[in-house]
């Protein structure tokens, strides 16, 4: 027998051995996961494009244009698309701002009074269940075909998630901190600005993220109903005139726009939570 086989490895040696093994194993697992993810994602994208192409082959091009035709429409109609994007964007931004200012403001007011909150609670529940986008035709009749009706609808459906989240957030205060502040003789206003606001922030930011998505939805639906300008209007018009490649190209632009809005909102939420050192609200 070789003499080195008789040497007992020390605990430190064993530890190092298993530690290195574990590290290598983890790295390998991560590498493999990355490859699997990349492969799987490529397969899904390829399958999506393949299905789309197959559908385009089965249906006439006036119903389903091929990805290539969509790309061509995207290039040739870039003027039309660029012209119709700013109105939608303005509606989303204005609706989001108006809805969130109103939602946070009213939420803060309602949360001041326990009584008001209890009285209004059933209405808040009901407002969740009612399809608010159905107000679109009515808002257009009342406010005309211009910007106002679209901004109003976007603001209206952005408003409710913020109202609810603000109220819930301001109520969800840490009891120990509240008792501490009370015992130190803090005024109501001090408790509000120094404690309640910070306890509410995670839910308010989550509400803002939802409101951004909702404002996008509201702007699009309002443009469906009363469209002369904007991407939603372009969708309906190109459906009506059977310029289907343009319809698909518009959908691509709209998806990009909505995704940017969503990413921006999520990013801002994360930044803001980080800035105030808060945890995201549990789902």
């Amino acid at each position: 027998m070789a003499p080195e086989a008789l040497v007992q490895p020390s605990d430190a040696d064993l530890y190092r051995h298993f530690y290195d093994h574990e590290v290598r194993e983890q790295a390998r697992r991560r590498r493999r996961a990355r490859i699997v993810n990349l492969l799987g994602r490529s397969v899904i994208v390829a399958a999506f494009l393949g299905l789309w192409t197959a559908a385009a082959a089965v249906y006439p091009p006036i119903i389903v244009p091929s990805p290539l035709a969509t790309w061509r429409a995207l290039v040739t109609e870039i003027g039309t698309l660029a012209q119709n994007t700013p109105p939608t964007l303005i509606e989303i931004v204005l609706g989001f701002l108006a809805g969130s200012v109103l939602g946070i403001g009213l939420g803060a007011l309602v949360a001041q009074s326990r009584w008001a909150e209890i009285v209004l609670r059933p209405y808040l529940v009901v407002s969740q269940a009612v399809p608010k986008v159905a107000l679109a035709p009515i808002l257009v009749i009342l406010l005309g075909y211009g910007l106002t009706s679209k901004v109003t609808l976007a603001a209206l459906i952005a408003f409710f998630p913020l109202l609810e989240n603000t109220i819930a957030g301001l109520r969800r205060v840490d009891l120990d901190s509240l008792r501490l502040l009370q015992s130190l003789g803090a005024t109501r206003w001090q408790i509000f600005t120094k404690l309640r606001v910070f306890c509410a922030l995670p839910l308010v930011f989550a509400g803002l993220r939802i409101a951004a998505v909702m404002a996008t939805l509201g702007a699009i639906v309002a443009e469906f109903v009363a469209g002369n300008r904007g991407l939603g209007a372009l969708l309906v018009v190109s459906m009506g005139t059977f310029s289907t490649p343009l319809l698909y190209a518009t959908m691509v632009v709209l998806t990009a726009l909505a995704f940017s809005v969503y990413l921006l909102a999520t990013w801002l939420e994360r930044k803001a939570l980080h800035r105030y050192n808060l945890a995201a609200p549990r789902a």
């Binding site: 699997v36 994602r41 009515i138 939603g232 459906m239 909505a258």
Partner: protein
Amino acid sequence: MAQTADRPSSMSTYAVAPASHLVDGREVTPAITRRELEEREIRAVRERRRRELITHNAARVAVFIAVLVGWHLLAARYDSNLLPGPLQTYAGLVRSWKLISAGAVATLVEIGLGFGLGVFGGLVLGSIIGVSKTMQGVLHPFLVLYQAVPKTGLAPMIVLILGFGILPKVVLAAMTAVFPVLENTIIGVQRVEEDSQRLFRVLGASPAQTYFKLRLINALPYIMTGLRGAIVLATVSVVVTEFVAGRIGLGAVMMTGYAQLDTPMVFGALLALTAIGLACYFTVCLIETLVLRWFNLELPAS
């Protein structure tokens, strides 16, 4: 802080209530025993609660009436074809009842089918993604993209492909309803206690047994929350698709009224739609309560 518990807050003060004690050297028997005092306080709390319930509900009704009156007064200043009041809305509802009721039935069927399909899809997909780490890793970016895309914007496309009938509405409703169920199923299936998982492993449970007897049951509260989100989204997308492809359903009725400037009918249809939305939502809430109670699970807060 408001005292919400059923016990009076001062109960602990009376931990020891002497039958009699000495005051200034004379023996005094209390006029009231500790027990009587507690009972009196409990009764007072109950009474206060009852009174609060009455005042709250009265205030709620008052808010409702105030809104109605405000609407009436506001509408009185405008032409009824621009802004009909509550009375004209009721008249419009009665006048166009045939159209509205037919539309309501169609809308209800579309919501039901779309919701059912979406929930089924969400459960299956969510379970697969929740159980398999690989699937989750692969699909994650697509899920984020799917969540962010305004799916109602797909309405014109789907109408072009599937026509103006019931099908495009069902498909779009299912496409939007799927997401909250999917998301919540993933979370619920994954958030299983480590100890229960170990127990199942030790007892030699098969993957199917672990899934159906542990993970799925554990996910139920989350799934039920997802159902609530799904029914609202299904309603919204059915209505929007009916706006775009106006032939059947309440959305189509609204668009007809809108085109003819028959605003009372639009308001009447909206009223019916609101009723449907509420009915669907509270049915789902009822299902949630029943299912969770059946499985002896806790109702989620709010």
